[in-house]
């Protein structure tokens, strides 16, 4: 059987690797972006000089041949589902028995005047990075539009090169549609402390270019004109599926898939950023453009193709990011605005760069989620507490089990217990130490 995967990002590559683990099928991975799989999340580190491009490749080049995964650098122009055939931009074609569409996203453009000028870019593909590098040469001012994770990455990148950045964010405070107010405030503060001109409640209206078609200025919703040589569009991403428009594969925002990640053609699957679940699990969005779900989907689809028809189950939500110097982790359900039946405890370190938030169910008293800034918590421990609906007071007393900060780092659990006492009047005491042996005992299935 010939399995063809379009896209060599984390989803496609995970699928290829697991198919190889589980079977001897012929595998071809197609990408028009790069010869080899690289970690998209590390693009910023190349620009900042932390790493070379080669360092972002998780597998050495010999890996693919050794594991009989064929790599093809080409651009798919059309998919013919009935003929089970792909047509490439260079006029060649390829047949498949099973097709996995893992083409990822493209940066959103909302029809702004001037959005296609030279010097207007998102940050998603390797080619975007190359464009940023090219435009950085004599850049005196950059404007970034859209307050998400990629926007702050781009701001940090320009900042590392001492290029002044103006960061336009539509919301009242950075990423407040995801982060609760205190955390959002903390990140906004961090952005400003790094000398970045953060303009909140400000949107992009127009981008103006010069005669050569290069960007020279933006106009904001507040009427301000900002001269700039680069505009970063980071107002989210959307599935990169234009080439499927007339293929007959059912599309909406993304490629529509069932719980087995199959499209309306059972031999064609879609995974990762470009897949849109028809019936997402409760509390989850139909499209989740993040690394971890891409990886899970890749694994699921591999099992499905190799004769183990499992359903996609992303498990308990988790994510992480880094905002300048502040690491961020989230486990479970942490809404930006607490609904009526949720309660939450927020502790913030006096330095204003670390915080711990616990969210629990007001009636049941069981834990729902954790939000961490500048503090590391253990994934497996938090997950088990959430899965088993552990009571928040139990969690608090055992909180040290979750501590994943490096050795000798100051432990904040007693401060969190104090905050809980202040909030509820109930004084709790830690009954566990930060210790791997205790953690493993806790995690061991009963």
């Amino acid at each position: 059987m010939h399995i063809v995967i379009i896209g060599n990002g984390i989803s496609g590559i995970t699928a290829a690797r697991h198919i190889r683990k589980l079977s001897d099928h012929k595998i071809t991975v197609i990408s028009g972006e790069s010869d080899y799989f690289f970690s998209r999340t590390a693009l910023m580190y190349i620009y900042m000089g932390h790493m070379r491009f080669a360092d972002t490749k998780p597998y050495q080049d010999f890996f693919w041949e050794k594991n009989r995964i064929n790599l093809l650098n080409n651009f798919v122009e059309e998919v013919k589902p009935e003929q089970k055939r792909l047509l490439f931009a260079d006029g060649t074609d390829m047949e498949f028995d099973k097709l996995i569409i893992a083409v990822g996203s493209k940066s959103n453009k909302f029809g702004w005047p001037g959005q296609d000028l030279d010097g207007v870019h998102g940050l998603y593909h390797l080619q975007d990075l190359e464009a940023m590098e090219r435009h950085s040469q004599k850049l005196e001012q950059a404007v970034i539009v859209g307050g998400g994770l990629i926007g702050i990455e781009m701001a940090e990148m320009f900042h590392s090169r001492h290029i002044p950045v103006t960061f336009l964010v539509r919301e009242k405070s950075y990423w407040n549609n995801v982060l609760p107010p205190e955390e959002s405030e903390m990140v906004s503060r961090e952005i400003r402390e790094n000398g970045i001109d953060l303009q909140l409640e400000t949107e992009l209206k127009e981008i103006w270019g010069d005669r050569e078609g290069r960007v020279k200025m933006v106009l904001t919703s507040k009427g301000e004109k900002i001269k700039c040589g680069f505009v970063g569009l980071t107002a989210g991403v959307s599935p990169n599926i234009d080439f499927l428009q007339f293929s007959g594969i059912n599309l909406e925002k993304g490629v529509l898939v069932n719980a087995h990640l199959q499209t309306n053609f059972p031999d064609i699957y879609a995974i990762g950023d470009c897949a849109q679940l028809q019936t997402p699990k409760k509390g989850r969005r139909p499209i989740e453009a993040i690394w971890y779900t891409g990886r899970m989907m890749g694994e699921t689809v591999a099992h499905h193709i190799c004769g183990n028809p499992v359903e996609y189950d992303p498990g308990i939500w988790f994510n992480s990011a880094k905002f300048m110097d502040i690491e961020y982790m989230v486990y479970g359900d942490v809404p930006p605005n607490m609904p009526e039946n949720y309660d939450s405890l927020y502790w913030e370190h006096p330095d204003g760069k670390k915080s711990i938030r616990l969210v629990w169910d007001r009636q049941g008293g069981h834990i729902l989620g954790f939000n961490l800034m500048g503090v590391r918590f253990r994934h497996e421990v938090c997950e088990k507490w959430i899965r088993e609906k552990t009571k928040v007071e139990e969690v608090l007393q055992d909180l040290k089990l979750a501590n994943f900060d490096p050795e000798f780092h100051r432990e904040h659990e007693s401060a969190v217990l104090n905050a809980y006492a202040d909030k509820t009047g109930t004084r709790l005491h830690s009954r566990k130490r930060r210790n791997l042996k205790q953690v493993l005992n806790f995690l061991r299935p009963a």
């Binding site: 040469q137 988790f318 880094k322």
Partner: protein, 602 residues
């Protein structure tokens, strides 16, 4: 404006200028001395009136000449000594009638080794010129100015916000094999070549630190004092830089404090104090087989001559080897030594920190590493056994040659049995380890059984143990650990020696990999495969390969520096001591769909 480097403050720029000036003064000072042979010093070094009788007329021919550089001076010295050697040889064979089979013959002639070993002392005593007269001025102009420049450059880094600041490392010529890096590597390599093989050409530098040596131990400085002094300065200054760079990370701060402490007190000051008190000057934290001469005859003799204190030192060394290494490594991993205590590790973690990203992460490098480091361990063990065998008396003692041989056989067979059981375990040792270890054991058993038939009674190996140990000293001790170990920081990263060559690291690594509680744990599924951990691993471990599978990292080479955990942008890695690594540490846990789940649904 776009700048592919982090902005320097004016103070930092002044710092760079001052440091460069100091480096120029230091380098140029090497050429400032002139040389005029000091007869008294030569006589004292020679310590033999018979030989001096032949040497004196020869050197008298050059005592009135002043040489403008050490090369010309040393050439003249060598030529004169050559003639004197010939004359002595002639006298020995013709007048005294001795032949090479007489022991007396070898004691009477003037050997090349002696002529070479006197070079440094003779050159130092014979030097004239500005350095001797202005050593204080030149000391401050090189060391003082260098320190000032370094701190002016380092301290303003405090203005940056706390956190990982690896910006522009791969844009920097110094840190990514550009011309500055290559020049630095050549300079460092050159320094080590002088230090180990031509110290007579670096007497000007040694003169600079004479006053400090006088103050510390009451005697003049040797090239080793200069080396120790520079080494300690580098660890202190670059240690402070390390602490500032990682001041958001207490593990790094405390660990760096520890290497500064052990270098300054244990490696530098304490031996100086011991020397001052006329005791054997020993670095109490140096452990065999890194300290490969620990069992050499002259060292054991020195310890035995020093009564209770000497015996204490001997037992201390033995306890470190046999008890401290396995026990502490079992509880904390090899990091307790390699990145907290060791001098080589100390320099790598401080002076070498800016070069850690240059270690090779490819699989091929790992394969070379595994062969090389374990072969050096085998070499060190065999060499030491041969030396001890030669040293031990044949009879009338608690430990005789024969008893020692059988004890060694017992230990080696024990090690082989242990290795065999490790081989039988899942994810255990490779078969090669069993084969190599069995071969060495069998060879030793053969030697023990046929000893005296196959070999001459004094030596264990075909060649004398002296030959073996001089090969080791030259190849491993000088070239590998010194010239390449440090000189190649800017080419191959800061742990070349620790990774490919250190026999103690190999020993610690075996314990860490197969019987230890230390591992680096991976935080569930949080890895994004970005590669920062692998890039900044100085030991060339592809940390990401484990982290993205959710597998704990249990590798014999890991020195536990903790930088992977520090640079991880998603908080995925943590150094931990838990239950024995056999428990869970080797599982892959990021598998999203477990086998059991698949079966249930299928």
């Amino acid at each position: 404006m776009n700048a592919k480097s982090t902005k320097k403050t004016p103070l930092q720029i002044i710092g760079i200028i001052l440091f460069s000036l100091a480096l120029i003064v230091f380098t140029v000072s090497l050429s400032l001395s002139r040389y005029k042979l000091d007869k008294d010093a030569l006589k004292e070094q020679l310590g033999d009136d018979y030989k001096y009788g032949f040497v004196e007329p020869e050197i008298d021919k050059i005592t009135n000449t002043t040489y403008s550089n050490s090369f010309a001076f040393m050439r003249a010295y060598a030529e004169r000594m050559d003639v004197a050697q010939e004359a002595i040889l002639q006298d020995v064979t013709e007048n005294k009638g001795l032949t090479t089979s007489d022991g007396e013959y070898w004691n009477t002639i003037l050997k090349d080794d002696k002529v070479n070993s006197m070079k440094f002392a003779v050159a130092k005593a014979s030097s004239l010129g500005p350095i001797k007269q202005n050593s204080a001025l030149l000391f401050w102009g090189s060391f003082g100015l260098g320190l000032l420049g370094a701190f002016l450059y380092i301290l303003p880094k405090l203005r940056q916000s706390k956190g990982i600041k690896n910006n522009h490392i791969y844009h920097s010529s110094m840190h990514s094999l550009g011309w500055l890096g290559i020049a630095t590597g050549i300079y460092l390599t050159g320094f080590y070549v002088l230090l180990y093989f031509f110290p007579e050409h670096m007497v000007s530098w040694v003169l600079l630190v004479d006053p400090i040596s006088e103050a510390l131990n009451g005697g003049p400085a040797s090239q080793w004092f200069l080396y120790g002094f520079l080494y300690t300065l580098c660890i202190i200054v670059m240690g402070i830089r390390m602490i500032i760079k990682y001041r958001h990370n207490r593990y790094q701060m405390i660990r760096t404090g520890s290497v500064i402490f052990f270098q300054t007190c244990f490696a530098f000051l304490l031996p100086e104090l011991m020397a001052f008190l006329n005791k054997p000057a020993v670095d109490l934290k140096n452990i065999w087989p890194l300290d490969y001469s620990f069992f050499f005859d002259y060292r054991i003799d020195t310890l035995l001559e020093n009564g209770t204190f000497g015996l204490f030192l001997l037992f201390w060394g033995l306890i470190l080897i046999a008890i401290a290494v396995p026990v502490i490594t079992y509880f904390y991993g090899k990091r307790w030594y390699c990145s907290w205590v060791c001098g080589c590790g100390g320099l790598a973690e401080t002076l070498g920190d800016p070069y850690r990203q240059l270690s090779d992460k490819r699989l091929g490098a790992w394969q070379i590493e595994r062969w090389l480091i374990h072969l050096v361990l085998v070499f060190a063990v065999v060499m030491t056994m041969a030396v001890l065998y030669t040293y031990l008396p044949a009879s009338d003692a608690l430990i005789t040659k024969d008893r020692f041989l059988w004890l060694a056989v017992l230990l080696l067979v024990g090690a082989t049995v242990w290795i065999y059981f490790q081989y039988r375990k899942k994810n255990g040792m490779p078969l090669t380890a069993v084969i190599v270890s069995s071969a060495v054991s069998l060879a030793l058993i053969a030697v023990a059984v046929f000893n005296g038939i196959l070999f001459d009674a004094g030596n264990l190996m075909f060649t004398g143990s002296y030959q073996l140990r001089s090969w080791y000293g030259f190849g491993i001790g000088a070239i590998f650990s010194g010239v390449i170990g440090v000189g190649f920081y800017p080419f191959m990263g800061n742990r070349v020696w620790c990774r490919f060559g250190c026999p103690l690291a190999a020993y610690l690594g075996l314990v860490q990999r197969f019987k230890s509680r230390f591992r680096i744990t991976t935080n569930g599924g949080q890895c994004i495969s970005c590669g920062n951990c692998s890039t900044y691993c100085e030991m060339g471990i592809d940390v990401r390969a484990y982290a993205q599978k959710g597998q704990d990292i249990v590798r014999s080479s890991c020195v536990g520096c903790g930088i992977c955990s520090a640079v991880c942008p998603r908080g995925v890695l943590r150094l931990e001591n838990g239950p024995d690594v056999d428990e869970r540490a080797l599982e892959q846990r990021v598998i999203h769909i477990s086998e059991s789940e698949v079966k249930l649904l299928a």
